[in-house]
Symmetry: none
Subunit: 258 residues, 2 copies
Amino acid sequence: MAPEPKPLRNIEGLLIDVGGVLYQGDEAIKGSVEALARLRETGTSFRLLTNTTRTTRAALAHKLRGFGFTVEEEEIVTPASAANAVLRRDGARPHLLVHPDLLPDCPPEAPEPDAVLIGDAGEHFTFENMNRAFNVLIGGGKLYALGKNRFFRGSHGLELDAGPFVAALEYAAGVEAILIGKPARDFFLTAADALALAPEKVAMVGDDVESDVEGAIAAGLAGILVRTGKFRSSDEARAKKGGAHVAASLGALVEDFV
Amino acid sequence: MAPEPKPLRNIEGLLIDVGGVLYQGDEAIKGSVEALARLRETGTSFRLLTNTTRTTRAALAHKLRGFGFTVEEEEIVTPASAANAVLRRDGARPHLLVHPDLLPDCPPEAPEPDAVLIGDAGEHFTFENMNRAFNVLIGGGKLYALGKNRFFRGSHGLELDAGPFVAALEYAAGVEAILIGKPARDFFLTAADALALAPEKVAMVGDDVESDVEGAIAAGLAGILVRTGKFRSSDEARAKKGGAHVAASLGALVEDFV
């Protein structure tokens, strides 16, 4: 029997996925601009929670404003921005192996690193840069990964994402990476903490049943799957079986919720 | 309890790793030139068995002579020449991701590849080259690896070997590499066969506890770890636990052995 979903009347804050929930392709998803405005009017706490690892929060905020959203950079949580909190908590001094475009959101490079923070560095995954990261790890450093995706469809066809290079360093140094992005438990907890709410008072809204919804529920949050973005009909049964709510869209959810 | 190591008095031939056993950086390891000469004088069978996949056998023989060794190209066994036979057997058409220096020993690059042959490409492990290999694999290609070593001590400190990049492509494309070099069982057996000796009459001497020593023992040979090259003190307990002998160096070993 499916577990009973957490009742939404207890929820005081929302974590909202971006791609497939706020916008799709080159435009806002119907009702989502109004939904975000309504959350703001009613003083409902929220953060935008995305796994983007090649775009800064500033660039993403700029893009969303172009779609008509009112959004501040500080309302966006990415693996890079969460990395700051995770590394501080662990007292880790990172060497960075990330795309230069992402540097503004990352913790600063430490002079005497005892950890590696790796993201989708693209053409910056050179042999020299991989060696530098490896030498930190083989000296006893921890490996933090913004994500472990395998590949994506880029402008030149299929391109390697961060995952293969994470796997390379794991193999080289005999370590296991600490994942920072969704569905890592810490990512949801850090975001709930940013809302100053206990996890059980927070719901994650997303279109990815595995990464968004199941990840959030595993971390003790409520999970809400929306039927937009990459949602497929087979996801609905899986989400409900896992104790999630399902809503037609962010717009429909906020109408019922607020 | 650790298994009893094979008694060395039964050993009639040696397979000797090259980097970290015969030489280190730009010079012969103390006693190794004399050790090889002594083996030759006493008529003890040996082959140099190396996963070095950056140089041809001819270039390696030349380099070793420069360090003072007397050695013939035919006494060197490498994965690259073995690859020719393996790929022919499988009817595979390879795309090559190897160091350009190794090309003379490799099968030719196929115009329409359905496989990837990967070696220690060093600085040629660029994002672009990794992507090219990945696109062959994701189209259904097989992955052949000359070696899967993790790292080695180069002139600039510890450097990544082919292994991490093999692991990266395995993870990216969801495939498992077919290993040609050490610690592949066939590689040790072929080399023992070249000495016209049964595997239990042969000992592998190396500085890599996993690839040299454990690999050889798994193939039925004796394994001898030397405390030179990339040896780290923690390797000794692991080697002994696996039933290996440990010697200070090749020189010290041959003094006791012959």
